[in-house]
Point group: C2
Chain length 151, copies 2
C-alpha cells in the first residue's frame, strides 16, 4: 500500500482481507502478499493474487475513505503488470469505498502522468464494475450479452 | 512451516525465499504466503505459489538439516490440495536439503499414516527431481522422452 498513515494502512489490510474472503467464496484460490516489513520487499508482489482453474487475476488494492482520483507509483504499476504478464493473467486496481463497496478497474485504465506516477480517474472508478465483473472479464461467467449471442 | 524452533523456522524462511528467487528466474510469477502470526492464518495458504502463463504450481516447503522421512499434518495437506484444485494447478512438497539442494515431490506421493498425518518417505525424496522437474511436470519444458516421441 506504499507509505501511509497507521489508519490508512489498517483500512488497507482490512480491505485486502475482505477481497480475499470474497474471491475465495466465489471459488478462487486466493493469496495475499506478505506484509510490508524491513526484510520483505512487499512491492515485488501484487497485493492479492486470485486463480480459478488456470485463470489469473492480480490486484493492487486501494482502500479510500472517500471517492476521488487515485495516484499510483510507476514502480508499483510496473511490478503489477510484470507479475500479470508472467502469470498469463489480468491486472486490476481494486478500489474499496465506504457505502459503494468495490470497484474493480482493469489496469489498462491507468493513465501515465507527470512525476513518474499513474492516475486512475474518479469518473472511471465510478463506472467500474464490482467483483462479479472480474468473473466476466476472465471468461468465467458469460455476460448476458454473450449469453444471448451464443444462444 | 508449522511449529518449529527458531533455527528451523529461519532455515524454512531462507529456503522459501530461495525457491521464490529460483522460480522467478525461470520465468514464473511467484508469491510467498504471508508470514505466520497471531492475526494471519498462515495455514490457509501454500508456502509458495508459482504461475507461468496460466500453469500453476503450489508448494509446501520443508527445509531439513538432514535427509529423512518427512511428516506433514493432515490439515496442511488438505489446504495445499484444496488450493491447487481451485487454482487448477499441481501441488508439490519442496524439500530443501544441505549439499543435495531441492527435491520437488508431487503431493500424490504422500502416504496417509496414523495420527492424522501424511508421510513422505526418505527413499521417495531421494529419487525426486530438482526444480527443473516442475517445468517438465507442468508441460512447460518437454522431457527428452516426450521430445523423441513427438519427433
Amino acid at each position: 500500500m506504499g507509505s501511509a498513515s497507521g489508519k490508512a494502512r489498517s483500512r488497507g489490510y482490512r480491505a485486502e482481507r475482505e477481497l480475499v474472503a470474497t474471491l475465495w467464496k466465489l471459488g478462487f484460490a486466493v493469496m495475499r502478499a506478505p506484509a510490508s516489513g524491513a526484510k520483505i520487499k512487499r512491492a515485488d508482489y501484487p497485493d492479492v493474487v486470485a486463480i480459478y482453474k488456470g485463470r489469473v487475476a492480480v490486484f493492487e488494492v486501494k482502500a479510500r475513505s472517500r471517492a476521488g482520483t487515485i495516484y499510483i507509483d510507476e514502480g508499483q504499476v510496473r511490478k503489477l503488470l510484470t507479475f500479470a504478464e508472467r502469470a498469463g493473467g489480468r491486472a486490476y486496481i481494486a478500489v474499496r469505498l465506504p457505502h459503494i463497496g468495490w470497484r474493480i478497474i482493469p489496469a489498462s485504465a491507468l493513465e501515465r502522468v507527470k512525476g513518474g506516477r499513474y492516475r486512475l480517474r474518479k469518473d472511471i472508478i465510478e463506472v467500474g464494475e464490482g467483483i462479479a465483473g472480474v468473473l466476466k472479464d476472465l471468461g468465467i461467467v458469460k455476460s448476458l450479452t454473450q449469453y444471448l449471442k451464443s444462444s
